[in-house]
Symmetry: C2
Subunit: 336 residues, 2 copies
DNA sequence: TTGTAGGCGTTATCAC
DNA sequence: GTGATAACGCCTACAA
């Protein structure tokens, strides 16, 4: 397999190897004419630099990795797509590293990844985005990383996020405005900071409206269909069941809708259901659902953007807008 | 950042660099005691070889890529997970390359990937698995690749698949056995070989039962929710609507169920619905669904296995079993 | 069974 | 502005 190398290009263009390298890396101090000649030769020979060689000799590896452990394939897909979009623009590859959240070797795996591939950076999604051991490791090793939807310790590192609390509050206020007073909530997975954030928004809305919170209406969930379904069953079993249920994720909203459907409860006539981060499951399959649309793809794109930005640019928090989608009619709420 | 190199290990173990390398690559001709000493040193220093250096110097890059363009996030997720599982065992990284099917630069993108990363191989999923231009390119460049669910030209390259025709036939025969005579089908995306294979199974079952095929019951689809829903609407609008509908994918089955639901048609009392490759959408959200369970994850695992197997092992076709799931009760049908 | 020399394709350093 | 030359960390080929 005959590989085209810089050497070939340099010969073709009649310049030195180093000059070709300069053009490739967009360095200064290259004559306009020389640059053009080199670029022509590159195109002519279809030269594509070897990532391995670049990585070995230089400081960059032109690869980033996504550390993703999420129960929702839609979330993963959207996240990957967003990151991919930005990577393509930059000529960078994405290593997808799906992880088991329970893996006892998570730290070691990540360290392995970092050492073996010398990735230019990592993108962390919940819940790993808040694992102190991981953050500490990356910090110590001097590896760049961007956190998606982090909980605490937000000042130090770059991150992308939406204002989960404000969004959940908006959604809950919407339910209150519809006249609901007994609003149930299915919380997200306890390991995810977003769960607490969304619950806080729910609680704040109730408090703002002067509605005393009834903790029998607060149910634990795990961000998946099954837990949403089970929680809804429990809520609907109450002597005084809620008239509205706010599920902290789309999968759970689908579970709630399924439970209602099993009991012959009409949505939204007899029960209002609200969701979060609609993907395809709940909002498409069972349309009568009001939801917060979280731009997962945009968060991925932004995360990659932050990662690829500057070698030593300061930590930056980038907020992404969300939408409140009321039964299919959309109102843009907060694109910052 | 102080990198631990082979040199450090060799010093620690009191052997030459080459000997360490031999141990790392599981080569023969290393004394048991020497090997143990080296392994101890590796563990001691937490040595992790640089992929870049290995790739540059050797023949392998320890990276493979997944060329995936599929409308179903579940499919992508399962596929990636299966491949990942096998890669982890082998210490290989996976580069995820989601592609736009319509991309005019697909060929160039893949060539780019191959040249830049020197991946040890590629895994192609439908519909790219049947793109002649891509296959020709890889063949010409001498790059190993494995096709998932290919259509034609199957003899030359390794592939993993299920017997889509037999599965669809089984499913259709099941519907016939239930007494159905007017069975509608929503075909898959025309670019996917699996669409034709599943339709062939449907047709064969009808013919085997001596039922004349009514082409008004055959509808085009695109493997997604919307097309399944639209096709079902059309079928249910017929003067003589079908009593059963076979959707060629899970997303489309969900669409069919949604359409039935909108019209207040009870499933399965008034309409039987059958699906294929249940993921979470149709079969979980709307349980009364009989379906063929395609082991996407297993196909991914098998594909990676074939790819990582031997450097010059011959092409091998690996069939994976499927299950017919009848309303939740499972009968294993064909694990080869 | 083990060790030595050379090179993989690129970037970094330092002259010119 | 441009060009030699030395790394980068490992594997291949060959020698011992």
């Amino acid at each position: 397999m005959l590989r085209v190398t810089i050497k070939d290009v340099s010969r073709e263009a009649g310049v030195s190897i180093k000059t070709v390298s300069r053009v490739l890396n967009n360095e200064r101090y290259v004559g306009a004419e020389t640059r053009a000649r080199v670029q022509a030769a590159v195109a002519q020979l279809k030269f594509r630099p070897s990532l391995a060689a670049r990585s070995l000799a230089g400081k960059r590896s032109f690869q980033i990795a996504l550390i993703c452990d999420n129960p929702s394939p839609y979330y993963v897909y959207e996240m990957q797509s967003g990151i991919r979009d930005r990577c393509v623009e930059e000529g960078v590859r994405m290593i997808a590293q799906p992880y088991d959240r329970d893996s006892a070797t998570l730290i070691e795996d990540i360290e392995n990844l970092v050492d073996a591939t010398s990735v230019d950076g990592l993108i962390l999604t919940p819940p790993v985005t808040d694992y102190a051991a991981v953050l500490e490791l990356l910090e110590r090793r001097g590896v760049r990383f961007v956190r998606v939807s982090p909980g605490g310790d937000v000042a130090l590192t770059s991150s992308t996020f939406i204002d989960n609390e404000a969004a959940a509050r908006l959604m809950t206020e919407h339910l209150i405005a519809l006249g609901h007073r007994r609003i149930g909530i299915v919380r997200g997975h306890p390991d995810y900071a977003t769960s607490a954030q969304r619950f806080a928004g729910y609680a704040a809305a109730l408090e703002g409206a002067g509605i005393a919170r009834d903790d029998t209406l607060v149910r634990a969930g795990r961000y998946d269909f099954a837990s949403g379904s089970a929680a809804a069953e429990a809520l609907l079993d109450l002597a005084a069941p809620p008239s509205a249920i706010f599920a902290s994720s789309d999968d759970m909203a689908a579970g709630v809708l399924a439970a209602a459907h099993r009991r012959g409860i009409k949505v939204p006539e007899q029960l209002s259901v609200a969701g979060f981060d609609d993907t395809a499951l709940a909002s498409v399959v069972w349309p009568p659902l009001t939801t917060i649309r979280q731009p997962t793809r945009a968060m991925g794109y932004a995360a990659a953007d932050l990662l690829l930005a500057g070698g030593d640019s300061p930590a930056e928090r980038r907020e992404v807008g969300y939408e409140l989608v009321v039964r299919g009619s959309t109102g843009v709420v907060s694109p910052p």
